[in-house]
Amino acid sequence: MVSIKSFLNVVAIATIFSGVNAAPKCVKRVVDCPRHHLTPQEIQAIIPAGNHTLTEMVLEYNKIWSNDNLSFDPNYFKNFTGGQHPGLTWIGCSDSRVASDTLSETLPGQIFTHRNIANSVSEDDINSLAVLQYTIEDLKVQDIVISGHTYCGGINAAMDAAEFHGPIAKWIKPIADLYEANRAQIDALSPGYERNYALGKLNVKRVVDIVGNLEMVKKAREGGQPVRIHGWMYHMETGLIEDLKVTNE
């Protein structure tokens, strides 16, 4: 009687010689790919022990990550050298917990990203305006997402604006003004999460309106290029994105 062990040996040898090992091209989401991609935790575990500084560990992580992708498809990264064609522009918060590329489960090349304190845009800020101009004129992206989030430090700072000086105070002034304009309504809510969430939503709506009224957006729309501006809130406590349904199109 053939033992299971010898049967499995035969299967293993047959697999090796039949070329079933050939790696499939990985163009799907990591969760959809039939081969196992190393998770961040697994990569962390592989990083060789030693007296690394934090940035050295990040470089080690990246080396293992890129080798993992190349092991599936040697041309995985070469596919990106032809230029970028993202489907969406994300204007979100710099907060380390709002990892936009991870929580949206997108592949590299799908989202053009601008991240700053409290996902703000103003008409005299050439930084964010340059991002939007490149998005609309060069990349011809049709969807722009303004994404706020709960537990936002920038929103908390805006509710306490007197404590801040320097560039931060100047940057959050529009949000502080928004807070003043809606103070009665926001202060009626319980302090902490509720007030942060309410002001965060108002801020997203404010930015959606600003972006919708920009000259470059109006010009693109008049020229027949659709530009849809969505307002979302990322709920850190559940990991879910809420569509605030304030889309400007």
Binding site: L54, L70, Q84, N116, I117, G166, I172, G239
Partner: protein, 255 residues
């Protein structure tokens, strides 16, 4: 009727249709002809129900796709660790400030495995800084003063669109022209060296590396950085380049 006129598949799909069809309420006053016309609407004669093909689903737009995938991602994360997201709501304690490019191919979170709240991120066109830009200065101030970040990494990359824009600066106008100007000036200052390089990829990469060095110098010259270093707090500035062709980060050693 010959039962073999329909294949098993056809029979099963017809059965499915019959049982899935909306029930017709029989009220008084329904004539046979009315019932027939209702039946025709349920089973329009011009559609061939010959195989079990699913109704075509319209492709999702990217925002709709993201909302859908995000729900699955959140569910999977919670299944693996039920308190994963609750733990995130505590105050953030990242140790690295990443100043990188908005380029969709340079996903800072994925490259660094930073979905643990490790990397505070500033991403803009051409990973550029200037001493007059409130946007990036606010991020740096928040990172250094409030979050007490220990490492600032400025990451340029190959095949950068901002470098291409700097090469053709004279054809730009609007906010992007003002934004790219420092990089265009850097290009003009180093034009002979850059233009002498054999391939366009190398010219783009050379300007990108010079731009990273320029930004490292700008950061080192900021008052807030000088103050922090003088007070003895640990603060390291690094310049890196991400090679899109092989997915690897390299330290340019320009600290």
């Amino acid at each position: 009727m010959n039962s073999r006129a329909f294949s098993t598949l056809q029979r099963s799909s017809i059965t499915k249709l019959i049982f899935q069809a909306k029930p017709i309420r029989i009220h008084r006053g329904y004539t046979a002809s009315l019932l027939n016309s209702i039946r025709k609407q349920q089973f329009p004669p011009n559609i061939k129900y010959v195989h079990n093909s699913p109704k075509p689903v319209p492709a999702l737009s990217l925002p709709e796709q993201i909302l859908k995938y995000n729900k699955e991602w959140a569910k999977n994360k919670t299944k693996a660790d039920s308190s994963y997201f609750e733990n995130m709501t505590a105050v953030q304690t990242p140790e690295i400030l990443w100043i990188g490019c908005s380029d969709s191919r340079v996903c800072s979170d994925v490259l660094t495995g930073s979905n643990f709240g490790r990397v505070f991120t500033l991403r803009n066109v051409g990973n550029s800084l200037s001493t007059t830009d409130t946007n990036s200065l606010a991020v740096i101030q928040f990172a250094v003063e409030t979050l007490k970040i220990k490492h600032i990494v400025i990451v340029g990359h190959t095949f950068c669109g901002a470098m291409e824009a700097a090469f053709k600066y004279n054809s730009l106008n609007g906010p992007i022209s003002d934004w790219i100007k420092p990089i265009a000036d850097l290009y003009n200052k180093n034009k002979p060296t850059i233009d002498a390089l054999p391939t366009h990829k190398q010219q783009n990469q050379a300007l990108s590396e010079l731009n990273v060095k320029r930004n490292v110098d700008i950061i080192n010259s900021l008052d807030i950085i000088k103050k922090t270093k003088k007070s003895g707090k640990e603060l390291n500035i690094h310049g890196w380049i991400y090679d899109i062709e092989n997915g690897s980060l390299q330290d340019l050693k320009v600290s």
